[in-house]
């Protein structure tokens, strides 16, 4: 059977530069430029419809960019290029990268473009930046992502749009009146952004519920994982570990300096919720899914030469990445399982070499399904053409500062958060290699790719 391939999974390998003590091999390759992560920041991630609700997407992106400028003190004209990722586009600012860059005070001589790849849009922004530097086109690129779910483009119906466009062309009053007269009640029903995968018409939550069922993930397992995510996020927040978060003065509102979706609950309370997608027997609920989030992120990526010349101390080396795709119907959310072994093989590493894992948590059920798939010889042999199972990441290295379930998941912005978190965790925990994985969908609203990145100390 042929499978349609729409999913992709980027993998980035980073090496951490700040610790020189470990004697593990460097992943540097001859004749390939070393590319480094200099800094990464993000706005607080807020539940949509809260403090950010009156902004526009580029406002959030602007805040992240200004935060990055502030943190790095990089001269505005040193940056060669700016790339942003986003999923649901505000039509007025379709190239949100450019609008945000100008608004953040970057030189108008810096070209900017916007990419979209569902939940790994900012991963795509980052890997595009890597490509530009590796190709010798640029030395310093800002990559980032933004998502603004408090306001989404709701359109007139196709019928209504057609009538309105014809109205523009109508020459006489009679023509206009007859067009206006043709408007019926059906013309007035609005068109919401698709909440479903275009190819399969299946919503992401529905897909996640089926995936969980396919791997026999129980409701309790999902609730436990969600609770873990919230508890760890709370701990990290309280301990001040989420250094990538910048404070943001929202016009007309207070200064926002913390994520507001972290809510550790109890298993009993979570058990009370009804399934959100598959009724009445489903297992995915509001409590074990990531929530609609507003937020933006930004990272500064440079060639090592340039960074060192400018006196920066790189946070990590970005070595490699892999994108993979699978069947959008039944394997939509299994990117991490497919991508992890590929990127490890490319880098010549094994699972045990990795000190820090950051996986995107779209749904607790999706994470658990991936962990089960990675732990299954049958799955590896039947679907991946491998001799044996991929192996699962140890939980004591896995998403220790919370994840998308608790911190929030602004689709376009999550990738940069994962990468920056790996860099910070490697520094904090003294590890050498980190790995990021995320899964993305082909759809608009929901997204579930996992980008995976490995960080290495050099």
């Amino acid at each position: 059977k042929e499978k349609m391939l729409v999913n992709s999974l980027p993998l980035l390998i980073f090496s951490l530069s700040s610790f020189q003590t470990k004697s593990k091999k460097t992943l540097a390759r001859p004749n390939v430029k070393n590319i480094v992560l200099v800094e990464g920041v993000r706005t607080p991630f807020l539940l949509s419809g809260t403090t950010y609700s009156d902004l526009m997407p580029h406002d959030l992106a602007r805040a992240a960019l200004q935060g990055l400028l502030h943190r790095t003190a990089i001269p505005k004209d040193v940056v060669d290029y700016i790339i942003y990722g986003t999923v649901i586009q505000e039509v007025k600012t379709s190239n949100v990268a450019r609008e945000a860059a100008l608004g953040a005070g970057f030189s108008d001589k810096i070209p900017s473009h916007t990419v979209t790849m569902a939940c790994i849009s900012s991963n795509q922004a980052m890997t595009s930046a890597v490509g530009l530097i590796a190709a010798g086109q640029c030395d310093a690129v800002v990559a980032g992502g933004v998502e603004f779910m408090s306001d989404v483009p709701i359109r007139h119906s196709r019928k209504m749009r057609k009538t309105m466009l014809s109205l523009n062309k109508a020459k006489t009053l009679g023509q206009r009146l007859s067009l206006l007269g043709s408007i019926r009640l059906a013309h007035l029903s609005p068109e919401l952004p698709a909440v479903a995968e275009f190819s399969t018409s299946e919503t992401m939550g529905h897909s996640a519920d089926r995936l969980a069922a396919a791997f026999g993930v129980s409701r309790v397992e999902q609730d436990e994982f969600a609770l873990r995510s919230h508890s760890l996020a709370k701990k990290a927040q309280d301990a001040g570990l989420l250094q990538d978060v910048i404070s943001f003065k929202v016009p007309g509102r207070d200064i926002v300096s913390q994520d507001n979706g972290i809510r550790p609950s109890s298993m009993e309370q979570m058990a009370k919720l009804k399934p959100a997608f598959i009724k009445p027997h489903g297992t995915v609920t509001a409590a074990n899914s990531s929530f609609l989030t507003d937020g933006a992120s930004a990272v500064l990526i440079m060639s090592e030469e340039k960074a060192l010349a400018m006196g920066y101390k790189p946070k990590a080396y970005l070595r490699d990445f892999v994108y993979v795709s699978q069947d959008p119907k039944d394997q939509l959310l299994l990117g991490p399982t497919y991508g992890t072994p590929k990127v490890l093989e490319r880098a010549g590493l094994t699972m045990s070499d990795i000190d820090v894992f950051e996986f995107h948590e779209a749904f607790a059920g999706q994470i658990m399904a991936n962990l089960k798939a990675m732990d299954s010889d049958w799955f590896a042999q039947t679907y991946m053409g491998r001799k044996s199972k991929v192996g699962t990441p140890p939980m004591d290295k896995f998403n220790l500062w919370g994840g998308s379930l608790s911190l929030g998941h602004p689709f376009g912005a999550t990738g940069c958060r994962l990468v920056t978190t790996v860099a910070h965790r490697l520094q904090k925990e003294g590890g050498q290699y980190g790995l990021v994985a995320a899964c993305a969908a082909g759809g608009q609203v929901s997204d579930t790719h996992s980008p995976q990145m490995v960080f290495q100390q050099s």
Binding site: S199, H206, A213, A214, H281, D330, S376, F379
Partner: protein, 763 residues
């Protein structure tokens, strides 16, 4: 013959997964099942839920066979007597099949209607016990749930079904000339309402799970799962079981309610249906409609209405008695035997009897993007065949591509396909004007103009560009394949593939082999046809092969009848009342008067005066005047857009008057006219068997019914001879022969059967 429209109820037949057939399972009635180990039904306790699993190890599908029923009864006895069991779940562990129906052999083995009636009573009793079960029973349905299987499921208290494409529910008994004889006619009206029940049982159509949920036939749906830690299908069944067990527990401890809150419309409908006069009107309307559609030729729909009516109006017991009695009566009718014969024949014709081809056809090229060519493309691209559609003009390929697109898009409109799937399917199609990439084609099917010189020209062009293994198939409707193959460098790779128009609707494919056609070529052609979803007959080469050859004398007779002053409308009425889905005059228009003229002339040359009758000049004159049938807007009738009632073409009547013949009063009654038409068809079919054009009567019957619209209630020409009596038919033909001569001379094989009444085409 290109262009026969034999749609109607019957055309859905072959698509249904109705598997009443399980002949391979031989079972001994004498073996006491308490002694023998259970092989079909097993059960285990999951907490306080008895999970009862069905799987017939001797067949691809589960049927309610003697063995299955005996084991079910035994297991239910154990379950009911076990105090620890609070609820039960029925589930099939066979992929893609819950229960596909009753065991047809059980019915066929009965010698009298009383025997069948008592079978029905037993089934009714068994399901009554399930309906009145002291513990709640949940039917967990994945795959086909048809006929007796559906009756079984609706006797349970609750139904959970997978939303899989393979999950279909329905009561297809009517297509076998039977009725749902195990309580179906009694329970369905209560469950889905009177109109819904009539619709289900009278059409026999398959209902997908989501529709079944809307209708109230199932309570809950479960999504099919993708791959996990086990194969998808296996895990889906397991998941279905988990959900069903949860529901069963829920019902047992009163957390799940069995009574559904009725909506306003439902309440309204119930109130209206509660009125006697309204119901009476419904019975009348439905009966009238059935009468109109079946012309009184099919007894099953009438008996279905009777049984439902008895139950609703006179109460349960009377209804069950009526159902069982009527079931017994129907099982003994020739119509039911004919329909069952067709069903069984159709199963045989959906298998490849020529082995696996050495090289699977993956890339198909079609020459000619007309109705036929594009139709063939349409049924190929959605089966994953990479398809080239080649024509000589841009207009041609544009029209052809549009036809394929429209065919698929109509499915999107009916929600049978997503727009995304449509686009993906269309990516298999490449429309082009040249022979580029023919070098990687595995099979070429030509559907160009019916002219031997053009056929030779394209054959040579194609052979210059295709790889050695590539098969050349001709979609000719009458030209002998060996004549076409004469121009080939490799006649073993040349074969005939005769499709019927419209290709996406007509299920038959007639494959024609010559003496030189290799077995592997035949295997490939059959394999492609099966992939395209066709019912296939393989026949020998000769003018008109089998189907066209049978149709030609009947059409010649039809022209004569018209010349004798019987108008097109009356001719149509006479043929449809005999059971043909399409009248003879309409059929000629559908086929195309030009095609009919062509065939009549070609076959007339080949077979001589035997194929005479009507004057070919009638057809030729009509063609000259532009009356080519439906495609040109005028033929025997005038066709206009949006017109439902077609009117007779007065200019055609003028032509007929010009060629007027005097009718012979001795053989011109309505019945005589019908037999003049049918006997020539039937005699030619028997002659085809005699001359080894046909390999067996089964394919003859299938070809005639599915390709030419021979009355399904008669089961095909051969079954017709069996049931009507060869002697009687020969007698009638002799009467005609006296007046018209050799056109009505019975062939030797028919005479043999007439002489010896114990000779039958079908055992």
């Amino acid at each position: 013959m290109a262009g026969v429209r034999a749609a109607g109820v019957f055309s859905r037949f072959a698509n249904s997964k109705y598997s009443l057939l399980s002949g391979h399972a031989s079972r001994s009635l004498s073996v006491s099942s308490s002694v023998a180990a259970r092989t079909h039904v097993s059960y285990e306790l999951k907490d306080d839920v008895a999970v009862i699993r069905l799987n017939d190890p001797t067949s691809k599908v589960n049927t309610l066979s003697v063995q299955m029923q005996a084991e079910l009864t035994e297991v239910m006895g154990e379950v009911w007597s076990n105090g620890a069991v609070k609820s039960a779940v029925f589930i099939s562990t066979k992929p893609g099949c819950f229960i596909a129906g009753a065991d047809i052999n059980m019915i066929q083995a009965c010698k009298s209607s009383e025997e069948v009636t008592s079978l029905s009573r037993e089934g009714q009793k068994m399901f009554e016990k399930i309906e009145k079960s002291p513990i709640p029973i949940v039917a967990a349905i994945n795959g086909s749930c048809l006929g007796g299987g559906l009756e079984f499921a609706i006797a349970c208290q609750y139904r959970v079904a997978t939303k899989s494409r393979k999950t279909i529910l329905g009561t297809p008994e009517v297509m076998l000339g039977l009725l749902p004889g195990a309580g179906g006619t009694q329970r369905l009206p209560k469950m889905v309402g009177l109109p819904g029940a009539f619709d289900m049982m009278l059409t026999g159509r398959n209902i997908r799970a989501d529709k079944a949920k809307k209708m109230g036939l199932v309570h809950q749906l479960v999504d099919p799962l993708g791959p996990g830690l086990k194969p998808a299908e296996e895990r889906t069944i397991e998941y279905l079981e988990e959900v069903a067990v949860g529901v069963a527990k829920g019902i047992a401890n009163k957390k799940v309610s069995l009574t559904k809150e009725k909506g306003f419309m439902q309440k309204l409908q119930d109130t209206v249906m509660g009125l006697g006069p309204v119901r009476k009107q419904i019975y009348k309307t439905v009966s009238d409609k059935v009468q109109k559609q079946t012309k009184g030729l099919y007894p099953a729909p009438v008996k279905i209405i009777e049984s439902i009516q008895a139950g609703v109006e006179q109460g349960g017991e009377a209804g069950y008695v009526a159902e069982a009695t009527n079931f017994g009566k129907l099982a003994m009718t020739s119509e039911s035997r004919a329909l069952i014969g067709l069903y069984q024949g159709q199963v045989i014709c959906k298998k490849n009897h020529y082995g696996t081809p050495e090289k699977e056809v993956k890339k198909l090229a079609i020459l000619g993007a007309g109705l036929m060519g594009a139709g063939i493309a349409q049924v190929s691209v959605d089966k994953g065949l990479t398809t080239i559609l080649k024509d000589t003009a841009v207009d041609g390929i544009s029209r052809g591509e549009q036809q394929v697109y429209k065919g698929l898009n109509d499915k999107v409109k009916k929600k049978a396909l997503t727009s995304f799937a449509r686009d993906t399917i269309l990516s298999n199609l490449s429309a082009q004007l040249d022979y580029s990439s023919f070098k990687s084609a595995d099979m070429v099917i030509e559907a160009v103009f019916e002219d031997i010189n053009i056929k030779h020209k394209v054959l040579k062009e194609v052979e210059a560009v295709i790889p050695p293994h590539c098969i050349f198939a001709s979609n000719t409707s009458a030209l002998p394949i060996k004549d076409i193959a004469a121009a080939s460098k490799r006649p073993e790779k040349v074969i005939g593939m005769h499709y019927f128009s419209p290709v996406d609707k007509m299920q038959l494919l007639e494959i024609i082999t010559t003496d030189k056609t290799s077995k592997d070529t035949t295997a490939s052609a059959v394999s492609v046809g099966l992939k395209q979803g066709k019912i296939i007959i393989v026949v020998g080469d000769g003018p008109g092969f089998y189907t066209t050859r049978c149709l030609a004398p009947m059409l010649a007779e039809a022209v004569r009848v018209l010349q004798e002053g019987v108008g097109p409308k009356r001719l149509d009425a006479l043929t449809t009342s005999f059971g043909f889905p399409v009248g003879a005059a309409t059929l000629a228009d559908e086929v195309g008067i030009d095609v009919a003229a062509h065939v009549a002339e070609d076959l007339g040359k080949a077979f001589g005066s035997r194929f005479g009758g009507g004057n070919v000049d009638v057809l030729k004159t009509m063609v000259e005047k532009g009356f080519k049938g439906r495609k040109s807007g005028k033929g025997c009738y005038i066709y206009g857009k949006g017109k439902k009632d077609k009117s007779v073409n007065p200019d055609a009547e003028e032509i007929l008057k010009k060629y007027k013949l005097a009718a012979h009063p001795a053989i011109s009654t309505d019945s005589d006219i019908q037999y003049r038409l049918v006997s020539r068809f039937v005699n030619e079919a028997v002659l085809c068997l005699q001359e080894n054009i046909l390999r067996n009567p089964v394919e003859g019957d299938i070809g005639a019914v599915f390709g030419l619209g021979f009355p399904p209630c008669l089961g095909g020409p051969f079954r017709f001879v069996d049931s009507f009596g060869a002697e009687r038919l020969v007698g009638i033909m002799k009467r005609f022969e006296d007046i018209y001569g050799n056109q009505f001379t019975p062939c030797q094989l028919l005479l043999d059967h007439a002489k010896n009444p114990s000779k039958k085409f079908h055992k």
